[in-house]
Point group: C2
C-alpha cells in the first residue's frame, strides 16, 4: 500500500508539503482535533487509519517525478522528516498488511532545479491524493495513537499559500545572534511555513557582516572582530540551510540612517555633526553630498549582490534623523545649491535615488521601508514597499498599492513589543487586506513579516519570545481568509507549540497546561 | 601571600561571601567600575593587583576556623567557586611572587552545623580583611585583566544583608518545571544572594508533589503521574542543592482556594457546587464543613512538616472564590448554624483557623497571603504575612505591621507581568519601607519576594524571563537603602548578567550590547 504526494514546484515542495505530512505530527486529543498549523486550504480526514513503522515505511521518488535521488533538497528533507516521525524508535522486523509502506513524492516541476533558490515566484502548492487501487485510501497524516504508535489517517489535502511572502525579521546588530540561534529559528520557520528570512544584519550598534571588499567594516564595527561576526562561510551556511527548507534569505543593509557602526570602518562615510560652527565629534547618517559615499556603496552592493542569491536586497531607508545634516555647513550649502530649501526629506530622496540606481545596476530588486515611498522617491516597478508604521496603516496600504507598488505588511506584527497575556490572538486577528482599495490593489499585498527587533533580545530569550507568537502570523499569511476562529486556533496552536518543543525549539506556552515532552534544554 | 575571609555564620557564609569574592567575577571596563551585584554594604578597592593561577591558588580552612574539610557545604562551595574562576584554564607550573596563593576561610560560628539548614535567623554577615604581614594588602576581588589573566585587587569588604528574607517564588503547577530548571534557578538565586525559594508547588491546574501518605494526589492530580511529578527524591535534591547555597526552601500548599487538582485524588475534599437545587458537577474550594477535610489536612501537613526542613510552611489562603460555597445548600445551612449570616469570609476564617491550629501542632511556623490577615483570622505571633496586592500596598504594610506581624512584600515584584523595555528599573526603585509606620513597624518588614507565576511560563522561557529582572529585587533587598543610582546599577547589572550567561544561565539582556561570551544554549 502506498500513497502519492504531488508537488508542482520542486524547491518548496518539501518544506511546504511536509508541513502537514510529517511536519505536523499529530496526536489525537479528546477533541479529536487535527492539530495542523497553519491549516491547509482544503483538507478532509476520516477515521480510517494505517500504521507506519520505521522498518517498512519509505519515502521514495515517484516514477513520474521530475526529480530523483540526486536532488539534495529532497534527500535532506526525506531524512529530516523521517527523523521527526520515527525519532529513535527501534525498527521491528515484521511488516503488517495495515502498514503504509511507501510515500511517493512526485515533483511536477518541468525544471527540477535542485540547485536553485526559492523566489517570490515559486509555486508552493502541493497535494496529497490517493492512487487506487494501489492506495485505496487517500493520503493521510501521521499522529501517535494512545500506544505511541505512528498512525496516518485517511486524509485529502490540497494546499497553497494565501500570500507569497511570509517573513521573519531577525536583528543581529543590536545583539549578535550566534549562528546556532539563526539556524534553529530557520528550522522553526520551516515548521511554520515561513519562506523569507529578512536578515536585518547590521545597524547603528554593530556591523557583524564580514565583507571581503571592506573587511574593516566588521573588524572595526562588530562587537568583536572574531567572535561577533558572520564570516562568508557563516553566511553561506545560513543561505544553504534556508534553501533546504524553501526559505529565501533577504539581507537588509539599511542606509542612510541606522549606520553608526559603518562609520568605524569607512572613513568619511558618515556626516560629521556640528555643534555651532565646529564639528562635535559625533556622526549622523551617510554623507549624501560626497561622491566617495556613492563609490563605496557601488563596491559594497556589488559584493552583497553576489553573496546573497535572492533576487531582492532590503535597502532600509527608515527613520533618518535630519538633525545632524541640518547642523553641517557643507550640507547646508549643498541644500541651497540643489534648491532643496529646508526640506531635508528631499536630501534623503536624493541619496536614496542614487543608491537605488546603484543597486539596480547589480540586477537586484529591492525592498524598502515605507518612508522611501512616503518621501516620493522614484522606485522601480518591482520594488517591494514594507509598511511598518502602526498609525494610519490602512491609509498607507491604500496609498502604496494605489501607486501600483508591491507591498508587504509588518506594522501589526512587531513581536519585540511584549505584553502580559495571549498577544498572539491580536496578531492572529489582523486581516492584511482590510484597507480601502480595488481588487487590483489588494493583489499587490504579497504578504507580511513578523519582526523581532533586537534591542531586548539575544540568544538567551529570542527563540521563546518568537515562538509560537510568530506562528499566529504564519497561519494568517498561509491559510484562507476565512480561518479566523481563535478558539479553534488555540487548540491547534497549543499542540503545534508542543511539537516545536519536542523538536528542540523552546517555544513558550500559550497558557496553562503541559506538553507530553517538556523542553529539556535550559 | 594569603588573605583571610572571616564569616560569622557557617551556613550562609559561602553562598554569601563568594557572591563578591569569586561569584562576582569582574572584568574591568573603561568605566573602571567594579561590577559587584548586589553591592556590598561597605567596600573599598585600590589599583594594587595580584594574580591568581589555578596552579598555585588554593582555598583552605583557616586555623582558627570552627569548620574543616568535613564540612560539605564549604567543600562544595570551594569547588564551585574555583571552577567559576578558573574554568578550564590549564595549570601553569611556575608560581610567581605576585601570585595570591591562598584564601583562608575562617568560620566563626560556635556551632559549625554543616548538616543544618539555613533559617530566618541565620547571620549572613561576612568580611574580607588583611592579615599583615602575611598579606600586606587587604583581600581583593577576582577579575580578568586585558590578557584574560585572573587578577584580584586590593579591596576591603564588610557585608551583610539589609533584609533577612530575600525570596523567589516559582510556580510548578500552572506548568510543570523539570528539576533541571529548578536547580539552575537555585544556582542563579545564589549568584544574586537570594536566600529563600518559595516553591508554589501545587495549585488548581496540577498537583506534581508526590505525597507518600496520599499518592493519589499526584497520581490523579499531576499533568502526568510519572513524567510531571516531583518524587520524594526530587524534593530532597532540591532542598539539598538549595542548602549548599544557603537557600531555604519554603513550600506552599495553598488552601482552601486554588485546590482544584487536589480534588482528583481525595474524595469529598472539595465543595460540590450547585446549579439551582442539584450539584453541577463542578467543585469549589476545600469543603470547610466536613471533619474529613481537617482529618486529611492533619495527615497531609504531618508529612509536609517532615519532608521540608524549613521552620516555615506557606499556607496560601489567597483568592478564595465564594460563589461555589454560596451555591451549596449544606454550606448555607452551616453558615446559619454558625451564625455567620451571609459573610463567607467568616467561613473562610473558620477554615483557616482550624488549618493553622493543625499546622501549628506540627511545630512549624507559617506564612500566609495577606487575605488571611485581612479577614481577621487569629494568627500565631511568628506568622509571616505576605503582602501581594498592588493597590493600597502601603496601607496594608501599615496595618499588618501595626498589628505586630512580621511581613514580606511581593506586591511590586510580580515578574510574570511583562512589558516592553527596562522594567527592572521599576522593580529597582521600590523602597520597601516607604509606608507610614513607626521604626518598630519598619523592623517587622523582613524582606520580600520576586514572584514568577506560571500561567505563561515554563521550561522554555522561565530563566530568561526571571533573570536579570529578579536581580533588581536582589540588590534592593540586600544592599543599603542609599543604593539607588539607576545608571550605576545599569552598568553593574549589565556585567552581572553577562557573568550569569557565562555560567550557563540564559539571563536576558538589559538593552543593546553584547557579552564577551554569548549564551550558547538555545
Amino acid at each position: 500500500m502506498y500513497c502519492l504526494l504531488k508537488c508542482a514546484p520542486l524547491i518548496l515542495a518539501v518544506a511546504v508539503c511536509h508541513g502537514w505530512l510529517f511536519g505536523d505530527f499529530v496526536r489525537k486529543q479528546e477533541l479529536n482535533e487535527i492539530s495542523l498549523w497553519p491549516i491547509p486550504q482544503k483538507f478532509q480526514s476520516s477515521a480510517v487509519a494505517f500504521k507506519l513503522s520505521p522498518a517498512s515505511f519509505q519515502i521514495v521518488h515517484a516514477k513520474q517525478s521530475s526529480a530523483g535521488p540526486s536532488c539534495s533538497i529532497l534527500e535532506n528533507a526525506f531524512r529530516r522528516y523521517f527523523e521527526y516521525v520515527f525519532g529513535d524508535l527501534k525498527s521491528r522486523k515484521k511488516v503488517y498488511d495495515s502498514d503504509l509502506v511507501e510515500l511517493q513524492v512526485w515533483i511536477t516541476s518541468a525544471d527540477p532545479e535542485c540547485d536553485g533558490y526559492p523566489s517570490l515566484q515559486t509555486d508552493e502548492s502541493c497535494e496529497l491524493f490517493s492512487l487506487p487501487p494501489l492506495c485505496s485510501t487517500a493520503p493521510q497524516l501521521v499522529y501517535e495513537d494512545d500506544y505511541g504508535a505512528n498512525n496516518i489517517n485517511k486524509t485529502e489535502i490540497s494546499d497553497f499559500p494565501r500570500f507569497a511572502h511570509r517573513g521573519i525579521l531577525l536583528d543581529s546588530s543590536r545583539h549578535f545572534l550566534p549562528l546556532k540561534v539563526i539556524l534553529a529559528n530557520l528550522e522553526a520557520m520551516a515548521m511554520n511555513k515561513f519562506n523569507v528570512f529578512h536578515w536585518h544584519i547590521v545597524d547603528d550598534q554593530s556591523f557583524p557582516y564580514m565583507s571581503r571588499t571592506f573587511p574593516d567594516l566588521s573588524q572595526k564595527g562588530a562587537y568583536h572582530p572574531f567572535t561577533h561576526v558572520y564570516t562568508p562561510s557563516d553566511v553561506k551556511m545560513v543561505i544553504e540551510f534556508a534553501r533546504m527548507r524553501g526559505i529565501r534569505v533577504i539581507p537588509e543593509f539599511d542606509t542612510p540612517g541606522h549606520t553608526r557602526s559603518w562609520g568605524n570602518g569607512i572613513k568619511d562615510l558618515l556626516t560629521p555633526c556640528y555643534s555651532g560652527s565646529s564639528p562635535s565629534g559625533t556622526f549622523g547618517p551617510v554623507n549624501p553630498i560626497l561622491n566617495s559615499s556613492y563609490d563605496f556603496m557601488t563596491e559594497f552592493f556589488k559584493e552583497i549582490s553576489t553573496v546573497f542569491p535572492d533576487a531582492y536586497i532590503h535597502l532600509g531607508g527608515d527613520e533618518v534623523d535630519f538633525s545632524c545634516w541640518k547642523s553641517n555647513p557643507d550640507i547646508q550649502k549643498f541644500m541651497v545649491q540643489q534648491g532643496f530649501g529646508t526640506d531635508y526629506s528631499k536630501l534623503e530622496s536624493f541619496y536614496v535615488q542614487r543608491l537605488l540606481d546603484i543597486v539596480a545596476a547589480t540586477k537586484k530588486g529591492y525592498m524598502v521601508w515605507q518612508e522611501v515611498f512616503d518621501n516620493g522617491v522614484k522606485l522601480k516597478d518591482d520594488t517591494v514597499v514594507e509598511v511598518w508604521m502602526g498609525n494610519k496603516m490602512e491609509e498607507e496600504l491604500q496609498n502604496v498599492t494605489g501607486a501600483g507598488f508591491t507591498t508587504i505588511l509588518s506594522a501589526p506584527w512587531y513581536l519585540d513589543y511584549i505584553s502580559y497575556g495571549q498577544d498572539w490572538q491580536r496578531y492572529y486577528k489582523v486581516e492584511p487586506l482590510n484597507f480601502p482599495g480595488t481588487d487590483a490593489q489588494k493583489k499587490l499585498v504579497i504578504g507580511g513579516e513578523a519582526c523581532l527587533w533586537g534591542e531586548y533580545v539575544d540568544a538567551t530569550n529570542l527563540t521563546p519570545r518568537l515562538w509560537p507568537r510568530a506562528s499566529a502570523v504564519a497561519e494568517r499569511l498561509w491559510s484562507d481568509k476565512s480561518v479566523t476562529d481563535v478558539g479553534n486556533a488555540y487548540n491547534r496552536l497549543a499542540q503545534h507549540r508542543c511539537r516545536m518543543v519536542k523538536r528542540g525549539i523552546p517555544a513558550e506556552p500559550l497558557f496553562v497546561g503541559h506538553c507530553r515532552q517538556e523542553y529539556m534544554g535550559l
